[in-house]
Symmetry: C2
Subunit: 160 residues, 2 copies
DNA sequence: TATTGTTATACTCTATAACTATA
DNA sequence: TATAGTTATAGAGTATAACAATA
């Protein structure tokens, strides 16, 4: 018990000084992302959808008629992995596959009214959650963080 | 072909204006992390180790004698998931499990000389890779990004 | 020949629950 | 009763390879 207490005392709160991982941007990105990921489902009502399903729905709502190949490119995932995601969205009645005149290989994706509503509702819940998580930063810091991440991503667009 | 070209033109380079995901910090964290994750193995020589194995080794080197439970807490993962990671590190000869006098339930973890060398070598490769990826930001921006991520994490310490 | 959507497959990563031996 | 390490197991998540239909 005495030794257990001693070990517990070594749990340094916050960012530990003797943790070399804290100096790596990649590690901080991963752990920071987990703050958002771990609450992603629980902040949603009705039928919670995982991040990748929400992402696909978001693009289909913003770009109605997008094809699966282009959607996969936008999301940075493989075409094959997108199939199950689209299946799930279609099964829920949130989007439809529609043939494209002139190219019978392709099926364009269109959101249903229910899909648009689902997106709006989910985005709202996620934005509220983000606000909460980011409340420990000043508005200026949050704005700066977002801008830096976007700049980093934009400079590496197409590498993923 | 004509329609294909039309679709291709819609692949907006960089951050697309019609992509609502780009406004979410969580999404930007995920995609940014993937820039580091996707090159994590390929920048290493000899025997590349995945992120979670490197993370565990790094903490054991920095905190020799750490127990598995405390290591799991530090890394934000479950004890059960750590077992295979420690097994792999021990099999490679990079750390050793040692009994702790006074509590026979516990086994403390100590890095071997080879383990310390492996950590130093890997960290060096990773830092070089980070420098490369972050070269699209100014030094001031990189410093700011790291500080913001650390502040965010520190404010949520213990929630993971 | 190349591309779209698809299936099959496998591998990584992680969490939950339960067990054992200790405390 | 609680904790440390472990095992078994299952579920996400993702990538690779191959296929049929079409360009």
């Amino acid at each position: 018990m005495e030794r257990a207490a001693w070990r517990r005392d070594n749990d340094v709160p916050g960012i530990a000084e003797d943790n070399p991982l804290d100096a790596l941007v990649g590690y901080n990105l991963k752990r920071s992302y987990m703050l958002f990921r771990s609450t992603f489902l629980s902040v949603q009502q009705d039928t919670p959808i995982p991040p990748r399903v929400f992402s696909a729905l978001a693009i289909v709502v913003a770009q109605p008629g997008v094809t699966q190949s282009n959607l996969a490119r936008t999301l940075g995932i493989e075409r094959s992995g997108l199939v199950a995601i689209i299946d799930e969205l279609q099964r829920s009645g949130w989007l439809e596959r529609a043939p494209v005149p002139g190219d019978r290989r392709v099926q364009a994706l269109f959101p249903t009214p229910a899909g648009k509503a689902k997106f709006t509702e989910t985005r709202s819940a996620l934005e509220h959650n983000e606000t909460e998580i980011l409340s420990v930063l000043t508005p200026s810091e949050t704005k700066s963080l977002l801008a830096l991440l976007q700049k980093l991503r934009a400079a590496h667009a197409g590498e993923e």
